[in-house]
Symmetry: C2
Subunit: 199 residues, 2 copies
C-alpha cells in the first residue's frame, strides 16, 4: 500500500521504521497527523526534536537526564550507599514504579555479549567503577536482565567489585527467566528486590 | 508509568494521543526517537510538519493532494465519465489497490449522521454537485461505508442526482471473498442471497 503523495508516504515510512509498527498502524498514525490542527502538528514535531536534543545522559549514573545530572542523582532523599545496576533506562523506570527501592542507579546501556562484539568497554562499566572510589557505596545490586548476557554481565562486574570490599547482590529469580525486565510487573519486581542474594 | 523528564514524558504523551496506541507502545516509540541520530530525528520531525503543511485537499474531488489537484484528477488516463463517491481518503487508496477502477473519485470527508449533527452541509456534497454541471459525468458510484450512516448518505445523494439524469449505483453487498461463510453475519448473508447472480 503506498500513496503517490510524497509527504504523506514519507511520513508513513517514518512511522513504519519503528519496531512493532506495521503498515496499517503507520498509515493510521499518518492520518492522525493530517487531522491535527497546525499548532498541534508543530507541537508534535517539536516534541520529537525536543526529546532528542534535551535528553542526555546523566554524568554520574548514565541514566537519561535533561541536564548534567538525572533527577535521581540530584535528589537528596536517596540512599547513596546502594547502587542498582541495570542495562537500560527503561529498567530504571520499571524499578522506580515499585516505590520500594530508595538507592541510586547505574545504567550500563547494554550487556556483555561476545556474540554481538559487546565487551565490558562497550557498556558503562568504567563509569561504574569510577563511582565506587569514594567509599560511600556499600552494596551494588545487579539488576541486569535474567538472560545469558545479563547473567554474564552480573558475574563479570561482581568479580571486579568483590576485591574492592563491596557487597554485590543479584535480583532474586522472581523475575521470569528469559523475559525482559522492562515488562515485569511491579509485584514481581519488588519480590525480586526483597529476595536478592549475595553473589 | 511516567518519566520525570519533561521532554521524554511529553513525547510519550504525544504518541499516546493517537488512536490505538497504548502506554507501552508510546513508550517504546519515544525510546526509538531517543535512539535516532540527530539528523534522523530532525527528518522525522520535518516529515510531520511537511505532511501537515504540504498535504491539502484537491480542489476538484476533495481527496488529499500536494497541490491544487490530486494525482488522480491530474492524470490524463482516467475515465472522466464515472465518479466514485467515498467517505474518506483511505477509501480511495483501498479502491485504487484493486487496480480495477479507472474513473475519478469524490471524497465526502464523512457521512450524514443526524446523531452527530452531521448533515449534508458538513460533508462535501455541494462540491460533488458542482462537478456534475458540465454534463461529462454519466455515472456516480456510491461507495460510502456499508453502515447506517453510509447508506443514508448514499440514498440522500442518489435522490439529488437522479433528477439530473445521472445513473447512480451502489457497491454490491455480499460475503467477503476468502472469508468463512460460517462467520458471516445474518444481514450480510441475506444481502448476499438477495444479490445472487446466475452462473
Amino acid at each position: 500500500m503506498s500513496y503517490n503523495l510524497a509527504p504523506l508516504q514519507n511520513l508513513i515510512e517514518q512511522f513504519e521504521r519503528m519496531q512493532g509498527i506495521g503498515q496499517k498502524t503507520a498509515q493510521r498514525m499518518a492520518f492522525y497527523v493530517l487531522g491535527l490542527s497546525d499548532a498541534e502538528a508543530k507541537e508534535f514535531a517539536k516534541a520529537i526534536t525536543d526529546a532528542h536534543t534535551k535528553i542526555k545522559q546523566c554524568k554520574v549514573c548514565c541514566d537519561l537526564a535533561d541536564g548534567d545530572l538525572c533527577p535521581i542523582c540530584k535528589a537528596d532523599n536517596r540512599d547513596r550507599s546502594v547502587i542498582c545496576v541495570v542495562e537500560d533506562p527503561r529498567d530504571v523506570a520499571a524499578i522506580e514504579r515499585t516505590h520500594e527501592y530508595k538507592g541510586l542507579y547505574h545504567v550500563l546501556h547494554g550487556a556483555i555479549s561476545p556474540m554481538d562484539n559487546i565487551g565490558p568497554d562497550q557498556i558503562r562499566v568504567k563509569e561504574l567503577i569510577a563511582r565506587l572510589g569514594s567509599g560511600e557505596v556499600e552494596e551494588v545490586i545487579m539488576a541486569t536482565n535474567p538472560t545469558v548476557e545479563g547473567e554474564a554481565t552480573a558475574m563479570y562486574i561482581s568479580r571486579l567489585l568483590k576485591p574492592m570490599g563491596i557487597t554485590v547482590s543479584r535480583l532474586a529469580y522472581g523475575v521470569p527467566v528469559g523475559a525482559d525486565l522492562e515488562y515485569a510487573d511491579e509485584v514481581t519486581l519488588s519480590r525480586a528486590l526483597d529476595g536478592r542474594s549475595i553473589i
